[in-house]
């Protein structure tokens, strides 16, 4: 399929990109051949997104040059790249929520007078071709994360792109949707489209890519055919050392600090998603909640924090023995409940504010209520303190959180919640879209929260994470808790069996 002698469709020569004097990408060379799937892997902050943004014309290189079909080009805007057939599907979706799916798909290529019907049927055609079940007349803002991703991909395909760059396309997708996406990528490859995809799931890169490039600290470490790599070798290139990822048996199950639960949920019902859910969370213990997507885990967490309302007479919730019913999440924050959302870009942080402003606002949300003036100095000092404790890596002091890597963004969200000194922390998919190195750090943070005596509720669809972190494992199915396992007796097979049957 790929022709190694032909001119590469894209080649980046010794490109360097600096932000505020610090290099996000240093002297990197990269080429992409016609009809290949090229995986880019690396830790958070390794420069993968920067490299893609250079190719897509979002940012211009500080040094070095870009060639398309062998010709040197200078892109001043993404529009220029788009004209050369280069499309990028962003990690943070760039759809306009107020427009319909069809309008979003043709956005930027409308004619002066558009027929609503033609726009819609063009969108329907491309969506059906890709086998995406998305209604083109729906508002983009009402779609789930996975469907938004599908619309983005459809937009690139409609663009008749020759090069499609996918920045973590599978982070928000279910396993079936992921399989489907890779099927689609293979069929696009047959028609000669070249694709770059960034992924933190190393298996995806190994199984689906033709070639793999590994970046570390802004430098291109190695590029080669996927068959030459295995998981261990990739990790060695990514972090420069071996990482023991095995089931960590050295960490013993901690016993809860008290038999009195910090949170008790009894018979909570919410719409058709949560159906008589009952469980308790104990201080000093990590309670993992496993289950399939749609088993009502995130929904019950949102009911607990007052984000969504339970049914009339839809069960009872106690926090430290006191019955609570929050009208707004701010009351839950004031009572010491922190919810770390699964969709950090939407609910987790203010993307245009800096790291310290975000953490400072987290502090202000709890401790600054009813104060007239925000103590900015104090907020900055607390934020700096937490930045160091969680080792948040950023480039420049005022850099917006938007430009941080996924793992560092997640750490900002965690810091923003921990600064509120919560007694109950609810993690919803804490390591989704986070690289291997940061996953280990975030897991360590979660353990230390439990060690400090707070109750931890961990919602995760990734079974190894549940097995590795939890002291006690609950399995949700169809909106109710169907099984409970201790750390010692739990296995992936048992949990899956309970979650499915």
């Amino acid at each position: 399929m790929t022709d190694e002698t032909a001119t590469p469709i894209i080649s980046l020569e010794n490109a360097t990109k600096t932000y505020g004097g610090i290099a996000a990408l240093a002297d990197a060379s990269f080429d992409l051949r016609r009809g290949e799937i090229h995986a880019l892997v690396g830790e958070n902050g390794a420069g993968k997104s920067t490299l893609c943004k250079l190719i897509a014309g979002v940012v211009a290189p500080t040094q070095g040059g870009l060639r398309v079909d062998g010709e040197p080009v200078v892109f001043s805007a993404p529009k220029d790249a788009s004209a050369r057939g280069i499309s990028m599907v962003y990690q943070e979706t760039s759809l306009v929520p107020q427009l319909t799916v069809a309008q979003n798909i043709v956005l930027g290529r409308e004619r002066a007078f558009n027929s609503v019907r033609k726009v819609r049927s063009a969108a329907r055609q491309v969506l059906q071709r890709l086998n995406f079940k998305v209604d083109p007349s729906q508002l983009a803002g009402s779609l789930s994360a996975a469907k938004r991703q599908m619309v983005e991909i459809a937009r690139a395909v409609l663009n008749e792109a020759r090069v499609i760059i996918l920045d973590e396309p599978t982070a928000a997708l279910t396993p079936e949707e992921t399989d489907h996406l890779f099927d689609l990528m293979r069929s696009l490859r047959r028609s000669g489209v070249a694709m770059i995809f960034i992924s933190h799931a190393l298996e995806e890169a190994l199984n689906h890519a033709d070639r793999i490039s590994v970046l570390r600290n802004g430098r291109m470490m190695v590029t080669g055919p996927a068959a030459d790599f295995d998981r261990a070798r990739l990790i060695r290139h990514m972090i420069g050392e071996e990482l023991d990822e095995g089931h960590d048996t050295t960490v013993k199950a901690r016993s809860p600090h008290s038999a009195l639960p910090v949170l008790r949920v009894e018979n909570v019902r919410m719409g058709s998603m949560v159906n008589n859910m009952s469980f308790s969370i104990f201080p000093g213990e990590i309670t993992g909640i496993a289950g399939l997507i749609g088993s009502g885990r995130s929904e019950v967490a949102k009911v607990i924090v007052g984000h969504t309302k339970r049914n009339f007479d839809g069960g009872r919730i106690w926090l430290d023995g006191r019955e609570v019913r929050y009208a707004i999440p701010a009351d839950a924050v004031a009572d010491g409940i922190a919810y770390i959302s699964e969709d950090r870009k939407l609910d987790g942080f203010f993307e245009t504010l800096s790291v310290s402003e975000n953490i400072g606002l987290g502090w202000l949300a709890k401790f600054g209520r009813r104060t007239l003036l925000a103590p900015l100095g104090r907020m900055r000092q607390i934020a700096g303190d937490w930045e160091q404790r969680l080792a948040i890596r950023r480039i420049g002091a005022g850099q917006p959180v938007l430009h941080l890597s996924g793992g560092n963004q997640q750490k900002v969200v965690i810091a923003k919640s921990l600064v509120q000194q919560p007694r109950l922390v609810i993690f919803d998919e804490p390591t989704r879209g986070v690289d291997v190195g940061a996953i280990a750090e975030i897991r360590q943070i979660i353990r230390s929260i439990a060690d400090s005596g707070a109750g931890v509720m961990l919602i995760s669809s990734y079974l190894p994470e549940i097995l590795d972190l939890s002291d006690r494992i609950l399995v949700a199915k169809g909106g109710t808790i169907v099984a409970e396992f201790s750390r010692a007796e739990a296995t992936a097979t048992k949990i899956l069996h309970a979650a499915v049957h």
């Binding site: 016993s255 809860p256 008290s258 038999a259 009195l260 639960p261 009894e266 104990f282 023995g321 006690r472």
Partner: protein
């Protein structure tokens, strides 16, 4: 919404999760079969004394043969070991008998007849002072069924001197079942229905246990609490359904009430609790049964640190007494008629 609020009750704060998570320690324990055991205590001479109907048996070592130590004229309802080798036995009908180390009845300690309804637990405060727990229900009453639905607090704590002088220490207790002393020597009383442990002033020391409490005993690490059953979701729910309960009490014999029970019962005319008791013909261990075996081990602050359980599919239910004997935790199961050895204490 508001008119319904007063009917809502706070269920016990603790659940059978975490430290009180399910286990099979009671079902796995070594056992001795005994007819109708109710009370047990470790005697001064190193033997284990336990009641079997009107008899008190003595066991020299685990695995040996129990011998009859004394035979009383009424079923024994409580046993306590005193400082000078004395052993007090509560007898059905609200009477007390005190024996010396050789099993001979001791003079004195006569309780005026009719003053105490029943003695469910006793404790020597000194050679000369015996504390008696009067739960307020007679021997023929099904205490578990009655207490769960009785609003009247008829229980008392009574002090009896060797001379026969009687003094009321506390009254207005709701079905007290056990008595113990804390590290400072203050008296603690466990309340069956209210699932709490209070002092003589009625002040709650710890509440929210997920069971119907029985006797409370000191151990090396804190306390052990025998529970006659666990809290049942159906019974907790019915506490909001006053009309239904009033009709049940008016028209049905207490034996058939929806209430905690001492013996596992599964019958076709039984309230089946959402049909949730059996799966493929087997009783599910997590079924919401009315009887249960539960022993809670606690630290010095009365906070649970562990438990021993016999779940719905077991039969060692209604744990009525517990004692520490030679470092082992010994419990009595009313439902299975057994004395169980749980091994060294937690």
């Amino acid at each position: 919404m508001m008119p319904f609020l007063p009917r809502r009750r706070q269920p016990p704060a603790m659940t059978l999760e975490g430290r009180l998570g399910p286990n099979g320690r009671l079902d796995e324990a070594a056992a001795i079969r005994v007819d109708a055991p109710d009370a047990l205590c470790a005697a001064a001479d190193g033997r284990l004394l336990f009641s079997s109907g009107a008899r008190v048996l003595a066991l020299a070592a685990w695995g040996g043969r129990p011998e009859t130590w004394v035979t009383c004229d009424a079923p024994v309802t409580a046993l306590a070991q005193g400082p000078g080798g004395l052993v007090a036995a509560g007898l059905a009908g609200g009477r007390v008998a005190v024996f010396d180390a050789a099993g001979q009845a001791v003079d004195g300690w006569s309780l005026p007849p009719g003053r105490v309804v029943s003695v469910v637990d006793c404790l020597f405060q000194s050679d000369d002072d015996l504390l008696l727990v009067d739960c307020g229900y007679g021997v023929d009453d099904d205490v578990l069924a009655q207490a769960a639905w009785d609003g009247v607090a008829r229980g008392r704590l009574v002090a009896l001197r060797r001379s026969g002088e009687m003094r009321e220490v506390a009254s207005g207790l709701h079905c007290p079942m056990g008595v113990s002393l804390d590290a400072q020597g203050a008296v603690l009383v466990s309340l069956l229905e209210q699932a709490s442990i209070v002092d003589v002033a009625g002040k709650v020391r710890q509440a929210g246990y997920p069971g119907y409490l029985g006797r409370l005993r000191r151990t090396a690490t804190g306390y052990a609490l025998a529970c006659l059953s666990r809290r049942d979701p159906l019974i907790e729910f019915l506490k909001t359904e006053r009309a239904f309960v009033a009709e049940m009490k008016a028209t049905i014999a207490p034996r058939h009430w929806i209430a905690p029970r001492a013996h596992p019962e599964f019958s076709h005319d039984f309230p089946i609790e959402l049909g949730a008791t059996r799966l493929y013909g087997q009783v599910k261990p997590w079924a919401p049964s009315f009887s249960y075996g539960l022993l809670i081990e606690m630290d010095v602050n009365l906070m649970p640190i562990g438990s021993a359980q016999s779940r719905a599919n077991g039969h060692r239910h209604a744990i009525c007494d517990v004692a520490v004997w030679n470092g082992d935790l010994i419990v009595a199961s009313k439902a299975s008629g057994e004395i169980l050895n749980l091994g060294t204490t937690a």
